[in-house]
Amino acid sequence: MKERRSVMTENELKNLIRSNPDDGFRQLFEQYHGYAFTIIHRTLGGTGCAKDAEDCIVDTFADVILHYDTYAKGSLRSYIGAVARNKAINLKRSLTAAEFYTVGDEETNGIPDNSDSIEESAEKSQTFRLLLDKVEGLGKPDSTIIIHKFFFDMSSIEIAKTVGMTPAAVRMRLSRSLKKLKKSLEELGVTL
């Protein structure tokens, strides 16, 4: 195993991919899987299950490994984000086909809802960031539990595995965290 830092700049990463594709793409996955996973969940918007999101992660990084050109101009992170988003949109379409899903209205899911005006959308984006600030203010592991629960739809059992606690402890901390957040959520006009 060669020495490898956990986070590299995009240029470092591209160089590593060129010189050693195996290590480079493993590092790329290490560095961006969480980012892609977040985008996939955001785009799926509650459609599908955890297994679907994992499948989408596999699709995304296989596609990136097969097609990314390290000499292409532009941000690597944006490229991965674009692939993740497109894969998630395709997955969402396939998952909702049985529900007479209509392309068009939902086509841009995963990014601000087009039904909102630009002002409303911007306001919601701002509210989301304020919410994130409040959640981060809880400190770990409470912030992680909130995010995994409400953004990634993970169960207490799944969250317990990632934060190294028992499911019961996760539920208890979640309950306490929500009490702490209650006032902030009300101020922001956010409901669960």
Binding site: E3, S6, F29, I39, R42, F61, V64, N86
Partner: protein, 516 residues
């Protein structure tokens, strides 16, 4: 705050910066889960590779695209220089762009290259010969500007200079590229230095002097091409490693001038999906197409953005309805330039802009088509990316590529395995054998080698890092600028991390991590 928002509905209004913030702070997969997923990815890639016609489709795992056909065309062109047949404009044979040279001279001279040409001739018997003619594009027209930017490498043989460009990660960080290029041999040197910008980056993007300090993590390093291999090394070192997986990957200029109308027709023929990301690199659409952009023949790491702006031209300029020439004669960096202003063409497709990217301003050298200055802006007019040229010289005025006597290694030979030893106090010291994160705490050495990007030395105290930066020091530290401070030197306000010797006793220097 008015209105009610469901918490998960708000999530759909997050952007990619939010996604990065969430993923940085809240990892979702255990190491075992990550290994499991990556194994599936590898299996998927292997399955795809073994499928029919795969070789024609894969590009991502290639270190560089093959340019064999370009070589053949170029050499075949030397054998069969044709004149005329193309209407409009002036045409020059590439030979220092001297219009006085006759075509017969070129034909005779280049035909004397025997063995290589014969080899290429045998392999290209079925190929029609290409014309080795260089079009002198009219820089008062959009087609002329576009065409010259696509083919800038035809208009100079040597170049040297200094350019500065923004880093995508942070507005207060930039890269300076000091370059020397020889297109006739493929030799080049690109000295890359990352700076923390202390003054307003808007000023730097508008040609004010850079006030800053070299970033200690990203540092300075050289990319050198000896005409055969692209090599990387610490600045001014004589020990280099080959930067590509395969040897002999340096690219060389060929005679295959690209017709701008062909590129425009190709771009217009591409069915860009309505859900494609706005910032999917345009080059991605050339992967398997009949039209190929010209290679990066300057063999530079950053300077190619200035010297070979073909990729930028295709990305921004293929639709002439979205931009215009706003100044046909503008002096910049001592050169006669044209100024282009417009909006990104894919905005008209209603795609979601990356970082709100909307408009741009380019300054293009009229003689060479090189992109000397660029600025891109979001919908609010805020600067997103930028590049400025501090010095640029071509051909006889250019500084030559310095000769280097290098000890060249393959990547495998270049890196050393991390070793962990124990000092006289019983503390372990050495390179980190895993990510510097809380879950790896026990297996990390007490004194972690100060492994900066291309420079380093000394050791961090492990506990100092976790105390200062929380559970994921390595990830958090990357968000800071960092400068080295020796005793008595002034420093920005920030988090001081001391660097010790391997005994953990003597402080060698201090690294200051700070945010503007």
């Amino acid at each position: 705050m008015k209105g009610e928002n469901k918490i998960n509905e708000l999530f759909s209004h997050s952007d990619n910066e939010d996604a990065q913030r969430i993923s940085d702070a809240h990892p979702v997969f255990s190491e075992a889960k990550k290994d499991e997923l990556y194994k599936r990815i590898q299996d998927r890639v292997a399955a795809e590779k073994s499928g029919n016609d795969f070789a024609d489709k894969v590009t991502g795992v290639e270190v560089r695209h093959g340019h064999g056909i370009m070589r053949y065309i170029g050499i075949a062109a030397a054998l069969a220089v044709l004149i005329g047949g193309i209407g409009g404009g002036h045409y020059l044979i590439r030979n220092n762009m001297n219009p006085d040279r006759t075509f017969s001279e070129i034909e005779t001279e280049e035909s004397t290259e025997t063995s290589e040409i014969q080899e290429a001739t045998e392999e290209t018997e079925e190929e029609p010969a290409e014309e080795a003619v260089i079009q002198d594009f009219d820089m008062s027209t959009q087609m002329g500007v576009f065409g010259k930017m696509l083919n800038s490498i035809d208009y100079y043989d040597y170049a040297s200079g200094v350019m500065i460009q923004s880093e995508t990660a942070r507005n207060d960080l930039c890269t300076e590229s000091a370059f020397n290029v020889d297109l006739t041999t493929g030799k080049s040197l690109d000295v890359l230095t990352r700076y923390n910008i202390y003054n307003d980056y808007h000023d730097v993007a508008n040609d004010q002097p850079l006030e800053g300090e070299m970033d200690q993590y990203l540092g300075v390093f050289d990319v050198y091409c000896d005409g055969t291999n692209e090599l990387e090394m610490p600045h001014d070192s004589n020990i280099a490693r080959i930067a590509t997986a395969e040897e002999n990957q340096a690219q060389h200029r060929t005679s295959d001038q690209l017709d701008p109308q062909t590129v425009i027709d190709y771009m217009n023929s591409i069915d860009i999906p309505s859900d494609a990301d706005y910032y999917t690199p345009t080059i991605a659409y050339f992967e398997n197409g009949d039209v190929q952009l010209r290679g990066i023949c300057s063999n530079t790491r950053a300077a190619f953005n200035l010297l070979e702006p073909g990729y930028t031209a295709v990305d921004y300029l293929y639709d002439f309805s979205t931009w215009e020439i706003t100044n046909e004669s503008f002096e910049y960096a001592g050169r006669d330039c044209v100024v282009l202003e417009g909006t990104h063409p894919r905005i008209s497709a209603g795609l979601i802009p990356y970082r709100g990217l909307s408009s741009f301003t380019f300054v293009v050298d009229k003689a060479t088509g090189c992109l000397l200055k660029m600025q891109t802006f979001d919908t609010d007019g805020e600067l997103i990316e930028w590049m400025v040229t501090k010095d640029i010289r071509f051909d006889a005025d250019a500084e030559p590529v310095p000769e280097k006597d290098l000890e060249i290694h393959r990547t495998d030979e270049y890196f050393t395995e991390p070793e962990i030893n124990t000092n006289s106090h019983g503390e372990t010291y050495g390179s980190c054998n895993g990510a510097i994160v809380r879950e790896n705490y026990d297996k990390l050495p007490d004194l972690i080698y100060n492994c900066l990007f291309y420079d380093g030395g000394g050791y961090f105290r492990k506990d100092d890092l976790f105390e200062a930066f929380g559970d994921q020091p390595e990830a958090v530290m990357k968000r800071y600028a960092v400068v080295r401070v020796d005793d008595g030197e002034p420093s920005p306000a920030g988090t001081d991390i001391k660097i010790y010797d391997e005994e953990g006793e003597n402080v060698l220097f201090t690294l200051v991590y700070y945010q503007k």
